[in-house]
Symmetry: C2
Subunit: 225 residues, 2 copies
């Protein structure tokens, strides 16, 4: 049986502010599943590269899509270690002292070894999952990938070897001596918000925008008012 927690490892154990660390799978998965862009780190002869990329989690594997593949592919085929980080910024924390300013955030750092996904069936399954991850319901509306497109699609699989989450939430934590300092203190909450959908202006769709477009949002639904 799989443990509910990722085992702590030398790469993933938080050294600074360890009270912010979370190692349970449900926290790690929720942060990954809300995200759209991950930052993929790999090193070529000691030179680090960090490339933003689309991804989707399926069970305990992260699948990476697109542009990092080209530069990474040759390296990663060899089984080079990668680090994938996903961060949600939830607010800026304005303390009374400059020193205690902070940010509310949720982040996950994953360590693993990437392999190239070359099998067309696996590619198709991942591409569908990726489209669903970006907009749930979309994969049945869009025209599926054909063999030529799937052959051209570059996907890397990163089985999660080690993972840790880091979370800061809540109000500023000022020193007692600063509580009378005459400045407003609190949090400005931030979230990735969807705006009014923009129909393709080059070829305007004749269809109404579906609910996954008009009601687009990331993360859990807000609590009822």
């Amino acid at each position: 049986m799989k443990s509910n927690e990722y085992p702590p490892g030398p790469r993933s154990t938080l050294k600074r502010l360890p009270e912010r660390g979370r190692y349970d799978r449900s926290t790690v998965h929720a942060i990954l599943d809300e995200g759209l862009v991950g930052h993929i780190g790999f090193a070529v002869k000691g030179q680090p590269f960090v490339i933003p990329t689309a991804y989707v989690r399926i069970d305990e594997t992260l699948y990476l899509h697109g542009s990092p593949a080209s530069r990474m592919l040759k390296e990663l085929r060899k089984g080079v270690p990668v680090c994938v980080t996903v961060t949600h910024l939830d607010g800026i924390v304005l303390a009374r002292s400059a020193f205690h300013h902070s940010m509310n955030f949720r982040s996950v750092v994953i360590f693993g070894t990437a392999r190239s996904v070359d099998d067309l069936d696996e590619k198709k399954r991942v591409l569908d999952a990726l489209v669903e991850h970006v907009a749930a319901g979309r994969s049945s509306d869009a025209r599926p990938g054909n063999p030529e497109e799937l052959a051209f699609t570059r996907i890397l699989a990163v089985p999660i070897e080690e993972a840790s989450a880091k979370v800061r939430s809540g109000p500023p934590i000022d020193d007692e001596a600063d509580l009378m300092h005459p400045a407003w203190a609190g949090v400005v909450p931030l979230r990735l918000q969807a705006g009014q959908p923009i129909p393709d202006e080059r070829h305007p769709p004749t269809q109404e925008a579906p609910a996954y477009v008009t009601g687009y949002r990331r993360g859990a639904a807000p609590p009822p008012e």
Copy 2:
């Protein structure tokens, strides 16, 4: 005189979809200055780490603050190369074909060699700039850092050696043959949106929230309606 463009280098030149690459300083600076969290990549004996961190740009130097410093500091003091990536997600691009789904985004990738900032005056200047970067106007309201706090603050300086931006914007680009596929197509715009400020509930401020809190936003102001 400084060139308006970053010189192309082997690390920063885009290999895939080079038409999305931008090397002019104004584009790179605007993306950096809008961001709040950068993803810092460094390698320790071939193992990459990608750590989200607060930063501020001053001229051609990126200053990194906080948690990556602990793990990185010992490595980076030696002059280890780093990569810093800042990404803004601007929208999801729903094409008629699964294959042409995409995201609108603006990202910057910086390469440089980090040094530790140890001088207290330099630290104070950076901490003020960082607070201003997060909320313009805040540094004159907050209680400034004292020598003990500044000694405890960990800051790394990364002079920008190479930089490139990558930008995708606009509608989906479907193949001609898919234009009659019966699915809505277009863009769901996304932006990091500030919500209602939350006054410090532990020690409620007696001050009104200032304009930089009530009107908080990142990036350029929206065009007038």
